[in-house]
């Protein structure tokens, strides 16, 4: 069997056109168009609560956005660096708990607590990354799994009850009168109020990931993924780019963790669970992690599935089926499949027209 080389954009588009953005021609206007499109999507998206007033669907969109950030963090690492992490719950959960502890136990202002939580998650991300990025393939997978589950165990240890609440978790309580971005605690739990925050952060993260991917740094980590040894023999110190990519990914997961705690107003060991760890990877993969949008779509679908199927307990069944089907047949995920269908349709239509 070969070493893991995830499908890249080249696999999606049958006519290889090189790195996007590397095309010759009027670059300025193309970038301007793209920026305008992003702004438009952002502004339109902000208005979602106006169009969708049903709190159930709004809730799904909001939770999907938050999970989407986590899924995108995982997907970025997997597709760009070839590193699949079953332990991003480490940073997600750590940031969520840090936020909960600093607001509830220490009475910090929510905004400060949120920033601190992201900082803690990112710092741990740097430490973990430094230790593990050099381990290849399955070893990395098992390491991330072990680290994530170790944190789960920590979160349920009775010895740490005063800090973590073990299985009961921590109901988040802001100190008297504290608000977060102008909203008080009850508002945060309201999907229509929380949506602008989640959407803004999501779009921001998508833009960051896209820019990083298309930058010189993005090409560097792709080279490391494609052939780490050759990259070294070309003069590159491969440890640093990988570590930086891992840190970006861990920060994303931490941000998602804070948002999750903010909306739920409650954290429990579930944020560290094996199920969460696996499902977030699956969401990213099934959505299609060669693009920035794929994992987000996967996350939204997952949240939707969770709401609809949660009671029946069959979520696990469908998630498992989705995973198997995607790896076996839809290597570039849902987004990839749709893109291929679209190209196919376009080509069929075009040939019809030229006849």
């Amino acid at each position: 069997m070969t070493t893991f080389s995830p499908p890249t954009e080249a696999d999606q588009d049958p006519v290889p056109s090189g790195r996007p953005g590397a095309r010759r021609g009027p670059r300025v206007s193309r970038r301007a168009w793209r920026a305008a499109a992003v702004v438009a999507v952002f502004v339109i998206g902000l208005g979602l609560p106006v169009v969708v007033s049903n709190p159930y669907y709004l809730g799904i969109a909001t939770d999907g956005a938050v999970l989407g950030i986590l899924a995108l963090s995982i997907g970025f690492l997997a597709s760009r660096c070839g590193l699949i992490s079953l332990g991003h719950t480490t940073f997600f959960g750590l940031a969520a708990y840090t936020f909960a502890i600093s607001t509830t136990n220490w009475g910090w202002a929510p905004l400060v607590a949120a920033l601190f939580a992201v900082l803690v998650g990112s710092a741990v991300g740097a430490l973990v990354g430094a230790a593990i990025v050099r381990t290849p393939g399955i070893g990395f997978l098992v390491l991330t799994l072990a680290i994530g589950q170790a944190f789960y165990q920590l979160s349920v240890q009775t010895a740490l009850r005063p800090l973590t609440g073990t299985y009961d978790g921590i109901p988040i309580i802001y100190a008297d009168g504290q608000t977060m971005l102008g909203r008080d605690q009850a508002d945060m739990g309201d999907a229509s109020q929380f949506w602008p925050i989640a959407w803004t952060v999501l779009i921001g993260f998508v833009v960051v990931v896209t820019l990083v991917t298309r930058s010189r740094f993005g090409r560097t980590i792709e080279a490391v993924r494609e052939n780490e040894e050759r990259a070294r023999f070309s003069g590159l110190n491969t440890f640093t780019p990988r570590l930086l990519a891992f840190m970006l990914s861990a920060t994303g997961a931490s941000v998602a963790g804070v948002l999750f705690a903010l909306k739920a107003n409650y954290v429990s060991p579930n944020v560290f669970s094996f199920v969460t760890a696996g499902d977030s990877v699956i969401a990213a993969l099934v959505g299609g992690w060669t693009t920035a949008v794929g994992p987000v779509i996967g996350a939204v679908l997952y949240v939707f599935g969770q709401s609809e199927l949660g009671a029946t307990g069959n979520l696990q069944l469908f998630t498992g089926i989705a995973l198997v089907v995607t790896i076996a047949f839809l290597r570039t995920g849902i987004v990839g499949a749709l893109t291929s269908l679209w190209s196919l349709a376009r080509r069929v239509l075009l040939t019809r027209r030229t006849r």
Partner: protein
């Protein structure tokens, strides 16, 4: 520390040993971590539960490994072979998904409740061990594991098939060139690995009872044991299983909070320090 605690550790280690030997065999031959091994173990336990009524415990102990062996063969034909050219990580993820499917289907069939399974009547009592009474059934588990370990070892070291398995684990291409029928070998290894999981599940049923979370609960310890023991090293996995079983059970008595982290610290330490595991080659 009492003898009973120590023996409990050995019993748990024994179950882990049987289960992890199967996983180590598969990992060694195919290079893929079978994340559905916990689900196979669970299948063995549930099949044992189902057959105990009609066939008694001893009958169940025969039926369960057979059924799971068939499942192993299905895995080989339906997953490992068609996906032979994909990376190990991808195939591993597929087994991960299969685990979810298998475990859920089991619960759909048998329900969410914990199901009790009665051990064999002849082993229901206690046996005197160094002065105190200890459940005979658990001694039986230990004895079974010992027999399996010896049997497996002899088979791998002395028989021709065992030699083929060891050779193919070292260098699959070379083995094939030298005339080893790798496909047939894979089939055999999957059947044996499945059977071992089935035995472990059937043995565990009266001891730990049969419940929906058992697949997931055993997966991480088994993974840790196989990885720490070394790629495909069955002996390494066996040793690691006993060490973990005893260490964790004893540690739970003394310092539960620290002990629960032990396996994780162990696997992280080993993977970082010696990515090949203690006895094996490469993890990748």
């Amino acid at each position: 520390m009492s003898i009973a605690n120590l023996l409990n550790g050995v019993a748990f280690g024994a179950l882990l040993l049987i289960l992890s030997s199967g996983l180590a065999l598969i990992y060694g031959l195919r290079g893929v971590i079978n994340f559905s091994h916990g689900a196979l173990y669970m299948l063995g336990a549930y099949v044992a539960y189902q057959s105990v009524g009609a066939l008694g415990f001893w009958g169940a102990l025969v039926v369960a490994p057979l059924v799971v062996a068939v499942a192993g063969v299905a895995l080989e034909l339906g997953v490992f072979r068609p996906l032979e050219h994909r990376s190990h990580v991808e195939v591993g993820l597929v087994t991960f998904g299969l685990a979810m499917i298998i475990e859920r289907v089991i619960v759909l069939i048998w329900g969410e409740d914990t199901l009790p399974v009665e051990g064999p009547g002849g082993l229901a009592g206690t046996v005197s061990v160094f002065g105190s009474g200890y459940p005979a059934y658990r001694l039986f588990i230990i004895a079974t594991a010992a027999v399996m370990a010896v049997g497996l070892f002899v088979w791998l070291q002395r028989s021709r098939t065992g030699l083929h398995i060891r050779a193919t684990s070292q260098d699959p291409e070379m083995a094939e060139i030298l005339g080893v029928n790798v496909s047939r070998l894979s089939l055999l290894v999957m059947a044996v690995g499945g059977a071992l999981a089935g035995v472990a599940g059937a043995l565990a049923a009266p001891y730990f009872s049969v419940q929906p979370s058992m697949g997931q609960a055993i997966l991480i310890p088994v993974l840790i044991v196989v990885v720490v023991g070394g790629v495909g090293s069955v002996g390494g996995a066996m040793t690691a299983a006993l060490v973990l079983g005893i260490g964790q059970t004893l540690g739970n008595v003394w310092a539960p909070s620290v002990t629960v982290l032990l396996p994780y610290v162990l696997v992280i330490g080993v993977l970082l320090w010696r990515p090949t595991g203690i006895a094996g080659k490469r993890v990748v």
